[in-house]
Subunit: 335 residues, 2 copies
Amino acid sequence: MATTIKDIAKYTGLSISTISKYLNGGNVLEHNRELIEEAIQTLDFKVNEMARGLRTSRTMTVGVLIPSLENIFFTSIVSHIESILLKEGYSTIVCDFKEDPGLEEKKLQFLFDKMVDGIVLMPLPGNDNLVKKIIARKTPLVLIDRMINNVECDVVLVDNLNASYNAVEQLIIRGHRRIGIIAGPQNIYTAQERLKGYIRVLEDYGLKVDPSLIKHGDYQIESGYNLLLELMKVEQPPTAVYVTNYEMTIGSIIAINENNIRIPDDISFIGFDNQDLARIVKPALSIVVQPVQQIGETAAKILLKRLRKDQGGFPIVTRLKTELLIRDSIKNVES
Amino acid sequence: MATTIKDIAKYTGLSISTISKYLNGGNVLEHNRELIEEAIQTLDFKVNEMARGLRTSRTMTVGVLIPSLENIFFTSIVSHIESILLKEGYSTIVCDFKEDPGLEEKKLQFLFDKMVDGIVLMPLPGNDNLVKKIIARKTPLVLIDRMINNVECDVVLVDNLNASYNAVEQLIIRGHRRIGIIAGPQNIYTAQERLKGYIRVLEDYGLKVDPSLIKHGDYQIESGYNLLLELMKVEQPPTAVYVTNYEMTIGSIIAINENNIRIPDDISFIGFDNQDLARIVKPALSIVVQPVQQIGETAAKILLKRLRKDQGGFPIVTRLKTELLIRDSIKNVES
DNA sequence: TTGTAGGCGTTATCAA
DNA sequence: TTGATAACGCCTACAA
């Protein structure tokens, strides 16, 4: 049997309620404090979270809901969330919904049933009412990666617009005038932002935006593969291409390899997200790198703040900067 | 306020204990059964796991302890574990210990404090007493990826020996006689097995095992990089190399690219673990693929069995087969 | 088959 | 500051 408050009470000769008070930060005579601490040490006492939870209806548990556990971008964010929360005694229940909206709802219900104290969510598009549901239950919530329109909520974003802007700008500076983009789904927030950055920088530099150079994929490997080939078949093909997520970057690279397209001679290339990838591919890829650690830590810290009932600054919208790694996949074009 | 058994009792006019009995699979009059089910539906009743847990000292929670959350091999196993457990109402607390033995112990303690009902562990070498600790507490435990000597425990393994055997055999069949291996740490079980398979197949085919062609790395990218270059500098370099985990495969590929080594002309290559990688690299890589889904599902199912107090077949040692994908990275050597 | 009553380990209220 | 006591929601003898 595990030791309980009762045991501590016996050991110290104090009452249960005094021990409980001490445990929750109340004032206790110096002498008693020492006594209690000694008892806790020697008896190896740990509060029973379930009993406590039953009384306080707090579970010291938070749910993290992400689209997939087979995606390094997501899991490495989770990893950083988890280590922050753990320090405060919270355990993290990770659920993925395999990119399936139906599952998203189911898993959320699961988390509700488990009575998590808070939730970190990376929402799929179109499921905005899920977010509303969470908020309606007053469960503290931090969103990651995208905002929901007309809903006030703490959110950690990446500055996708400027990420694109800076990436494409480097291509322009190096003389490229026809630049293709493999963008994401039009209903996904991050995809919209990344596309906006592309368009804006072209406009800022007085270049025309050619719709035939804008391809919308679904963020999966296959569409990266197909769209890259489509781009190469355009009447006047681009001299450079910018791919806006990890999976499509992989797909594009596969297409490039299988079709003997040369980087950067046939096409200059900027990809997204994964540093290892950048080095594996030859020549070394230029990529936009997202600050996964910061994303995770920021989300966790905001959630902890809310868990403490601190509503300061609500809603906190954090926008983190990406990093642009320029490697050997970009060619200078003579003008 | 959430609805409780009490509410169901009121709604149905039955007593709390009858409801409870029903909930736990006891016999109830057909008429009452329907009544209760109706009440549960309309009042949207969910048992309070904390109250139940307080009584039964079960948390309906299992802990999964893996070396890292930034490794697709691990996280995709976790993903499959999680979806099986979820169906049975268990939530999964994932902890990673960032490849740090100190953390491993800490996180385990965390799981104990959270009173998880069971644990799935992928243990680091040398921390065998952790496993013993878990067993001593009688917490159901399933090991993944490696066994512990002199300890009886359910475990899900991959047939690493034959994985290596088959991979290297393909190289031999294609005429290779000097085959290098980038093996893992000598104290890691899987690494030992993979090396054994390499040695055995060489012996079976009457080839001599040349120690200068066996390099031990630490399963990290960097060592894959270094060791591949070392192998190429051996007096009589190998014509083929077999790399025994994902990270070192990446490292090797980077080294190959940066040094303009050609696959398969300069060297034939078989890597490990990641299917995407195989396609990204040009030419397409041959690789050993581990059955991540089976690993996860098997582990989860065994754990569930134990959670049900079913000790049948203890200890269950499952050994799963790998798959060998042969692609374009292997050259036929004329003899 | 159903109901009564006690207790799981904690927190919170109120007196002392 | 401390202590007695009543919940929190559920399960489980035991009695009816």
